[in-house]
């Protein structure tokens, strides 16, 4: 019968397509949501980390502190949506200026998500360039001041 043929020719493929379409659509929508959340949270973490580093530096740079070490516990999350992230400190200083600019780069492991933020510091700031720290084993920022120079680095569990 022709209408049965039409039915089988059109509706069955549509039905089979639905079996794949609904899960794919739901998956794409939720992935969009999760990816956006991860990116936003990564950016938020980078900004907060940069701000924390800058405040720690200026606290140590105050003339009332001649030398010593100050540790600040990080309140950033160790994992973002179950992924850890790599923290890299790079030197982005312009050769013509006396200030130093630190580029804090966060890259989410297992994804292509990457974000960075710039932190302006004084000329006596120092850090290990291009060394990678893992977020799930880094719980604090440490600043050590001696002979007027301030060294910034990450620390593990205290």
């Amino acid at each position: 019968m022709p209408q049965v043929t039409i039915e089988y020719m059109i509706m069955v493929p549509v039905m089979i397509m639905q079996i794949f379409l609904f899960p794919i659509a739901a998956s794409v929508i939720m992935n969009t949501w999760v990816d956006s959340r991860m990116t936003i949270e990564l950016q938020e973490t980078a900004g907060h980390l940069g701000s924390s580093i800058q405040q720690l530096y200026y606290t140590m740079n105050h003339a009332s502190i001649a030398s010593g070490s100050l540790t600040v516990e990080l309140d950033t999350p160790p994992l973002i949506e179950g992924h850890y992230y790599n923290i890299t400190l790079q030197n982005a200083t312009n050769a013509n200026t006396s200030i130093k600019i630190m580029n804090v780069t966060l890259s989410l492991a297992g994804t292509n998500d990457k974000t960075s933020t710039l932190v302006t510091l004084g000329e006596n700031a120092d850090w290990q360039n291009n060394v990678i720290f893992l977020s799930n084993s880094t719980t604090s920022i440490i600043a050590t001041k001696s002979s007027g120079s301030i060294c910034l680095y990450f620390g593990g569990d205290t």
């Binding site: 039915e7 509706m11 001649a66």
Partner: protein
């Protein structure tokens, strides 16, 4: 038609799912999405209330309803009208025992019955008024490879124009006034140690002692201690004694050597009273000599001593020159405004009016490439009763030695010396955290926003 009806049923089902999802996924209120950082607002409010220690005072007068009322007025006036607060003062217990409670609430101020479902707190420790408050001064020379203060406290030398004091008592007073501002403050106990300094050797076991860029205060007034090696016939007589100098003023050569040390090591040499380098002293080698006024152990160099010092400071060849560098006019001089400001800042209050009879001639100092780095007193024409002079070699912008010359009449007020050095170097003072033992209270300020969750 049946297929169309089926599709419509599907649409109804999916639409129902969407409506259900929309109903359940309620968007949060803007206040929850972008909240104010109540923790920081609370902390900064507590800091501001304690800026004049009013919060500390109120925390220890919790029985005084007037004081608590004033605190509440200040809190209400400073916070935005939509902020609910709950301030609680806790006593910190130091008793031990099985039922030991660390904090006991003693007072509470609030402007609402309920703080709401969203709030944040910060805590602030206050101490009662009977605790010490420390100030941390910046260290002079810390960032410029210096930081050492030498105070001449030589037991084998005598002073002049310090009548009423001994050099040792002046040294102790200067130590008390100035040691907080230097990394190292070292008493030079005898002329042997002074000779070590002249040889650029450290004299203490401190690893941070630096001879270079040091400040050296001569507490012996118009006289300067002299190591015996510079005595006629001794090992360094060539650097300490000029046999051609007239009238027995041969030890002007030692003053030249000292000036050269100031140049080489970039010292700041402080002369606290009178005509600088008018005498040299060593109670060992000058035991039979007196200065003409009955003080033994010293030898006059007269006006040639300061000239020789300046020649050494200017790194020029030594030539005996007895021309005066001061006049003897009797002047009442006043501190410059900068020095007066420093009185308040450092808490040192000598009389603003001082008497000077040995003011140095600025034009004479200029001829030795010395420029005024800081005026302690207001100038009187060409004559400066007190100033810090910096030496600049011709064509150089670097300071190679300095002289603080206070041409005041005896007897010296060492507060003027301390104030002069502090006004010149301007180390900053930073108040530091104070600690209390057994007299601390904890203030907790909880903030919420009015209008529900």
């Amino acid at each position: 038609m049946i297929r169309t009806i089926e599709v419509l049923l599907v649409i109804i089902i999916i639409a129902g799912a969407f409506i259900g999802t929309s109903y359940l996924s309620v968007l949060p209120a803007p206040r929850q999405v972008s909240p104010i950082n109540l923790n920081r607002l609370s902390l900064t409010t507590l800091q501001m209330l304690d800026s004049d220690y009013d919060l500390s005072r109120a925390a220890f007068e919790t029985d005084n309803s007037t004081v608590l009322g004033q605190l509440q007025v200040a809190l209400s006036a400073s916070l935005p009208p939509n902020v609910i607060y709950n301030l609680t003062v806790y006593d910190v217990n130091d008793k031990e025992g099985q039922l030991y409670t660390l904090y006991t609430p003693v007072a509470n101020i609030s402007n609402a019955e309920s703080i709401g479902t969203t709030s944040d707190v910060s805590m602030y420790t206050v101490a009662s008024s009977n605790v010490t408050f420390n100030v941390t001064p910046e260290k002079i020379g810390e960032k410029s490879n210096g930081g050492t203060l030498y105070i001449l406290n030589c037991s084998d030398a005598n002073g002049w124009w310090i009548t009423g004091y001994t050099a040792q008592s002046l040294a102790q007073d200067l130590y008390n006034l100035l040691s907080p501002y230097f990394i190292n403050t070292i008493m030079v106990q005898n002329t042997t140690q002074l000779r070590e300094l002249i040889d650029n050797h450290t004299i203490s076991s401190s690893p941070t002692e630096k001879v270079q860029n040091a400040v050296v205060i001569n507490t012996f007034g118009e006289c300067v201690p002299m190591p015996q090696e510079y005595y006629q016939g001794q090992s360094r007589a060539s650097q300490g004694y000029d046999s051609n100098a007239p009238s027995g003023y041969g030890y002007v050569k030692y003053c030249y050597t000292l000036g050269n040390c100031v140049f080489m090591y970039n010292w700041t040499w402080a002369s606290i009273v009178g005509y600088p380098f008018y005498y040299v002293s060593n109670t060992g080698v000058f035991s039979n000599d007196q200065n003409g006024w009955g003080i033994y152990g010293m030898k006059m160099t007269a006006t040639g001593g300061s000239r020789a010092f300046l020649e050494g400071l200017n790194n020029q060849a030594y030539v005996y020159n007895s021309a005066q560098i001061t006049d003897s006019a009797n002047r009442v001089v006043t501190f410059t405004q900068a020095a007066i400001d420093s009185c308040n800042y450092y808490g040192i209050y000598p009389s603003i009016y001082q008497t000077s009879t040995r003011a140095l001639s600025n034009s004479t100092m200029s001829s030795y490439n010395l420029r005024v780095g800081f005026n302690v007193f207001n100038p009187s024409g060409d004559y400066l009763a007190g100033a810090v002079y910096n030496h600049f070699a011709i064509g150089s912008t670097n300071i190679t030695g300095s002289l603080l010359a206070l041409g005041l009449t005896r007897t010296p007020d060492v507060r003027v010396t301390a104030l002069s050095l502090l006004s010149y170097y301007q180390p900053r003072l930073y108040p530091s955290e104070y600690t209390a033992q057994g007299t601390s209270r904890l203030v907790v300020l909880q903030l919420g926003l009015a209008g529900g969750s």
